[in-house]
C-alpha cells in the first residue's frame, strides 16, 4: 500500500502523539504533564542521543566525509543567524533580531531524532556521525547571536553588562543542554573505545526505551506548542511568515550544501533538517540570561509554536522530497 509521504510521516507514533497533545489544548482538555516531568524526558533524550552518537562516531571512525560535513555544519550555524538577522532587522530591534536569528541558526534535537525515525521507517541509511553535526551546531549560533548584540547594539545599551567574551563562551558551551549532549557524546565515545560491554548494558536504557520516551516527550511538546500558538498571533504576521519561510529557506541552502558534500540521501536529510530546525532549549536559555532586552515570547513562540510543529509534521517529508529531487541532479 503506497501512501503519501506526508501522511505516512503523520501516521508514525511520535507525530501522532504530538498531534494528540496539540489537539488536547485545542479542545481544552485538562491533560497536563506537570513540571519537572518534561525535564526528565528532555534530559534523557539529550543523554541518549549523545551517548549513542558517541558510540557511532567511534565505530565509524573519521571517514573522508566526516570532516567536510562537520565543517559545513558549523559554517551553516554561523551563516544562518547572519541571514536571519538581516531579515529580522526590517521589523525588529537589534536585541530581538539577534535572539531570534540565533535560535534559527542553532538546532532542535527532537526534530533531528524525528528525522532519524522517519528515515528508519523509510529504510534509508544514514551515518552516526551526523550526531556530531548536531552537537557542533548548537553553540556557534549562540556565539554569533551574542556577538551581533555586542557590536550592533546601540553604544549606550542601557542595561548592558556581562557581555565579555568569556560570558559569551560560557553561555554557548556550558549551557545545560549543550553540556549534557556534548559530554554524553564523549562518554559514548570513551565507552565504545575502552569498554564495549558497557554499550550492551546501556542499550535497553538509551536504545530500546528511546522511541517510547520520544513519543511521551512529543505528547508534551504538542501541548506546549499549541499553548504558544495564540501568543504568536500577537507577535504579528511578519514573525509568523518568518517562522515558516526561514526553515524552508535554510533547507534550500542546506540541500545544495549537502549535494556539494556528496552526502547520501539519509545524511543529506539530516543535514537539511539541522539547517531548517530552530532551537528552543539552548538558545532561549542563553538569550534570557544575556539579552534580557529581547522578548522571550518572540523567540519561543516562533521556534516552539510554529517552526517545530511545521518541521515535525510537514517539513521532514518535504525536505525528503527536496533531497530526492536536488541531490541526484547532474553535478554542479
Amino acid at each position: 500500500m503506497e501512501i503519501n509521504p506526508i501522511l505516512q510521516n503523520v501516521l508514525a507514533p511520535p507525530v501522532l502523539f504530538f498531534l494528540i497533545g496539540a489537539i488536547s489544548v485545542l479542545f481544552k482538555s485538562d491533560l497536563e504533564i506537570p513540571a519537572p516531568l518534561p525535564k526528565l524526558f528532555s534530559l534523557y533524550l539529550l543523554l541518549a542521543i549523545g551517548f549513542k552518537g558517541g558510540i557511532e562516531i567511534q565505530k565509524s571512525g573519521f571517514t573522508d566525509q566526516v570532516l567536510p560535513t562537520l565543517s559545513a555544519a558549523i559554517l551553516m550555524s554561523l551563516v544562518i543567524p547572519l541571514i536571519g538577522f538581516l531579515i529580522l532587522r526590517f521589523k525588529f530591534d537589534v536585541f530581538n533580531s539577534a535572539a531570534i536569528a540565533a535560535a534559527y541558526g542553532s538546532i532542535s534535537a527532537v526534530t533531528f531524532i524525528s528525522a532519524e525515525s522517519f528515515l528508519e521507517s523509510q529504510k534509508i541509511a544514514f551515518d552516526g556521525f551526523m550526531v556530531g553535526a548536531l552537537a557542533l551546531m548548537e553553540s556557534p549560533a549562540i556565539i554569533v547571536g551574542l556577538l551581533l548584540v555586542k557590536f550592533a547594539a546601540p553604544k549606550n545599551r542601557p542595561k548592558s553588562r556581562k557581555m565579555h567574551l568569556s560570558a559569551i563562551l560560557h553561555e554557548s558551551l556550558l549551557n545545560g543542554s549543550v553540556y549534557l549532549l556534548l559530554s554524553s557524546l564523549i562518554v559514548g565515545f570513551l565507552t565504545a573505545s575502552s569498554n564495549p560491554s558497557g554499550i550492551e548494558k546501556m542499550e535497553p536504557f538509551t536504545g530500546q526505551l528511546f522511541y517510547g520516551a520520544e513519543c511521551f516527550f512529543l505528547l508534551d511538546m504538542g501541548i506546549v506548542a499549541a499553548q504558544r500558538l495564540p501568543r504568536l498571533k500577537k507577535a504579528g504576521s511578519f514573525l509568523i511568515g518568518f517562522a515558516i519561510f526561514m526553515p524552508l529557506f535554510n533547507a534550500f541552502i542546506g540541500v545544495f550544501v549537502a549535494r556539494f558534500l556528496s552526502l547520501g540521501p539519509g545524511n543529506a536529510l539530516l543535514f537539511v533538517v539541522l539547517c531548517a530546525s530552530a532551537s528552543y532549549l539552548a538558545v532561549p536559555a542563553a538569550m534570557r540570561m544575556t539579552v534580557p532586552e529581547a522578548k522571550s515570547s518572540y523567540y519561543i513562540s516562533t521556534t516552539l509554536g510554529l517552526t517545530f510543529p511545521f518541521n515535525i509534521v510537514l517539513g521532514i517529508p518535504i525536505y525528503m522530497s527536496l533531497v530526492n529531487t536536488i541531490i541526484p541532479l547532474s553535478p554542479l
Partner: protein, 93 residues
C-alpha cells in the same frame, strides 16, 4: 521587624542570594517554581523544562536597616532582569 518579598526569575537567584548574604541577613527562604505575569513578560510552568526557568519567591525576615543596606543592589538586579520587591511589617511569634 520587616518582611521582604522578592519575586524574580530563578535564573537570577544566585545573584540575589549573594546580595542577601553580603548584607548579612539572618536567613532567607526560597520557593521556586513560581509562575506569573509582570509588566514585562509571562512566566509559565510548561516552559520550565526548556531552561528558561520559572520564578523564585524569596522571603526575608530582617530589620529595616538591613533592607536599607540591600536596597540599591536588589533594585539593580531586578531592574536588569525584571521582578518585584515589597516590604511589609512582621512581628516574631
Amino acid at each position: 521587624m520587616k518582611r521582604l518579598d522578592l519575586i524574580f526569575s530563578e535564573r537570577e537567584l544566585d545573584a540575589i542570594i549573594k546580595t542577601l548574604e553580603k548584607a548579612n541577613v539572618p536567613g532567607y527562604t526560597v520557593m521556586k517554581h513560581a509562575t506569573g505575569r509582570g509588566p514585562e513578560r509571562v512566566v509559565t510552568e510548561d516552559m520550565e523544562f526548556t531552561g528558561l526557568g520559572a520564578n523564585a519567591h524569596v522571603i526575608v525576615f530582617c530589620e529595616q536597616e538591613l533592607i536599607d543596606k540591600m536596597r540599591d543592589n536588589i533594585r539593580d538586579d531586578l531592574s536588569y532582569y525584571g521582578g518585584v520587591a515589597y516590604i511589609s511589617e512582621a512581628t516574631p511569634l
